[in-house]
């Protein structure tokens, strides 16, 4: 029997562990000098995963660069809830141009900084899954391919939430949205081949690609800090549950995000130059049902008749992720 692993945390995150950690290991958010780049008072929904994710990402990027960050933002929830002018929640230089162009805007910023010889100032681009996976994909791919010095962050809530929860290219199969209602023989979103933007990013062989969730904010911060030590095109894909669109309880945002990882539905990993370099292992494997049942967008799978066939297909996808990315701890598997 293998030696039992010592865990300093009880709920699967470092949230409680912060106080037990050395000062240097604590999260940026736990520090008095955090920059509050996305400060309080904005109009995100209760339990918004995107607001949580953006706050951690930007504060970590600000800390990593000594506050020398400029941000390009796509149209979407993050833009709308943060800037009902004259109110703005941004405490960094921030530009919103259009829905589909934030990667190109960020590229332009980086080019200007190069021309101006300002190596100290760094660029972060931000978009939701609509702005990155769908309408902004062309610009994003161009930014990757040119290896522009931009950290681009996609806050993936798996749908067009700002316009009223319609299906995006990142909406999972079976999910109910306003354009994939649970009607007919195949309720919810159709099964396709999926559209993994992290894998698409890796295919560009850019210096750094990582995925994260708002369930492990220490991991998210660490990935941002690492990304800021690198130059060239970097991509961070953060799963951010949306209580409104997913029909999950506001207080369950972190729990749902954690289950996305623990079920294998959302693989958390890092890659450099197209090669997988690390994965966050599943600590306690859970069936996808535990994840789905917390979200009313999947409620039709558990009604009358219960759609075990669809749940099984979603489980197959999670199993495939687990195998493909090696998400299980080999020692746990031996046990």
């Amino acid at each position: 029997m293998p030696a039992q692993q010592v865990k300093l945390y009880q709920i699967g995150t470092f949230a409680v562990g912060n106080r037990l950690l050395d000062a240097e290991q604590r999260t940026v958010q736990a520090r008095m000098d955090r920059s509050n780049s996305l400060t309080s008072g904005h109009r995100a929904c209760r339990g918004c995963g995107e607001a949580l994710g953006a706050r951690y990402v930007l504060d970590a990027a600000m800390r990593a660069t000594g506050g020398q960050i400029v941000a390009a933002n796509a149209t979407g929830c993050l833009e709308v809830f943060s800037t009902p002018y004259p109110e703005t929640s941004w405490q960094l230089p921030w530009l919103h141009s259009l829905f589909g162009n934030s990667p190109a805007v960020a590229s332009g910023m980086a080019a200007a900084l190069r021309a101006q010889g300002r190596r100290d100032v760094r660029v972060v681009g931000q978009a939701g899954d609509g702005g990155a996976v769908d309408i902004g994909l062309g610009c994003l791919s161009g930014m990757f391919e040119r290896d522009d010095d931009v950290l681009f962050v996609c806050y993936d809530n798996e749908g067009y939430m700002n316009t009223g929860v319609q299906r995006s290219g990142a909406t999972p199969p079976g999910a109910r949205t306003a354009t994939t209602r649970p009607l007919g023989a195949q309720p919810g979103n159709a099964f396709g081949q999926g559209k993994s933007l992290p894998l698409i990013a890796m295919a560009h062989e850019i210096p750094y690609v990582a995925t994260a969730t708002v369930a492990d904010l220490h991991d998210l911060e660490a990935k941002v800090e690492h990304a800021m030590t690198l130059h060239g095109a970097r991509y961070l894909h953060v799963l951010v549950p949306c209580p409104l669109g997913w029909g999950s309880a506001s207080e369950d945002t972190v729990r749902v995000a954690r289950l996305a990882k623990e079920t294998g539905i959302f693989p958390v990993f890092e890659a450099e130059h197209g090669e997988l370099t690390s994965v966050s292992r599943i600590r306690q494997r859970r069936p996808v049902e535990d994840y789905l049942i917390l979200q009313s967008r999947f409620a039709h799978l558990f009604g009358e008749p219960r759609r075990d066939d669809i749940i099984a297909r979603i489980q197959q996808q999670a199993d495939r992720n687990i195998e493909r990315f090696g998400l299980l701890d080999p020692r746990a598997q031996e046990a």
């Binding site: 703005t88 230089p93 259009l98 162009n101 332009g108 200007a112 190069r114 610009c139 791919s141 161009g142």
Partner: protein, 418 residues
Amino acid sequence: MLSQLEGSQATAKAVARCRPEVVAAYPISPQTHIVEALSDMVRLGELAPCEYLTVESEFGALSACIGASAMGSRTFTATSSQGLLFMAEALFNASGLGLPIVMTVANRAIGAPINIWNDHSDAMAMRDSGWIQLFAGSNQEAVDLHLQAFVLAERLGLPVMVCMDGFVLTHAVERIDLPTVEEVDAFVPRFEPRQLLDPAHPVSIGAMVGPEAFTEVKYLMHARQMQALDEAPSIAADFGDAFGRTSGGLMHSYRTEGADTVVLALGSQVGTIEVVVDDLREEGHAVGVVELVCFRPWPETEVRRALAGAERVLVIERAFAPGAGGILAADVRLALAGTGTEVFGVVAGLGGRPVTRSAIRELVDDVRAGRLAPEGTHFLGLRTDVVEHQLRRADGPRPGPHAESVLAELGIVGSGSH
């Protein structure tokens, strides 16, 4: 310094001497020679410090310019036709944000049917995008307008489109008096951005504006555009003082003194019209021509003043609004409303069809002899037999694609036979 240069090369050199810091462009004919030349200069370090971004689309090109301009860099891009339309959303964004980007539009027709040759459909389709639109009559003016465009854009905080006829100008080799680096440095001041993304002074740009303030924000765009009606002539006068030639401004009048008939047009066709005017004047006919340089903002008062006294005005334009008619003609009719001057709207030169000296002469003669109705829209050189036949065919079942049908009827093989 005088040299024999292709229009695109001359434009590229003029732009280079304005010291852009970021150039982002996507290839589309007939604009490509301009950005190819700039790419070479950047690679050779002749433009340092300047970054050239080979973007994935025109939408990306202008979007990169938006980011770079907001970072405080002088930015330039160029496009044509479909590319300008693909930029459409970003065009409105750049002007709405008040970013002084300068763009060359090598004017080209818009499909379908796809056509790479010159007309003004592209620029006209974007006339409400909030960009200042200047049209060059010659390659010398194209060169000069680029210098003036950077000054105008940065003085007003608005983007400027310099339109030059695709192929007719971009690919024509002409004698060019190219301003020297020192002359351009003296004429185009350093870029002092009105707004800037700066970590030392963080601002939010591009916020949402609701009904409480949207009208006021949009009105300011309009007011700043209208300021160009004063600024453009003032900059052109400064240019005249510095370089000793007339270029830019709102318009150029040619032999309009005492003219009973004045032709008004945009772009390179004015050169041909001037030759016709010379012929007519020599024969004792009082005909003149006004070359409009500044189409947006629309210099309504100045147009009325320039055309005052003419019995009739003939607007020849290389674009039109389907279902409505001439675009420039409609604006001119508004400018001349109540003056008693008759306005004749003629659409000519679509998709690269040559607007010849003889055709213009015939047109002017027709107008002066009362053979053309002042109402409606006339299409110069339209093959009425073909369109009438095609309209009859269209009544039958499944008449098929009409462009291909017209080509078949005309017996045209390949695009170079016209």
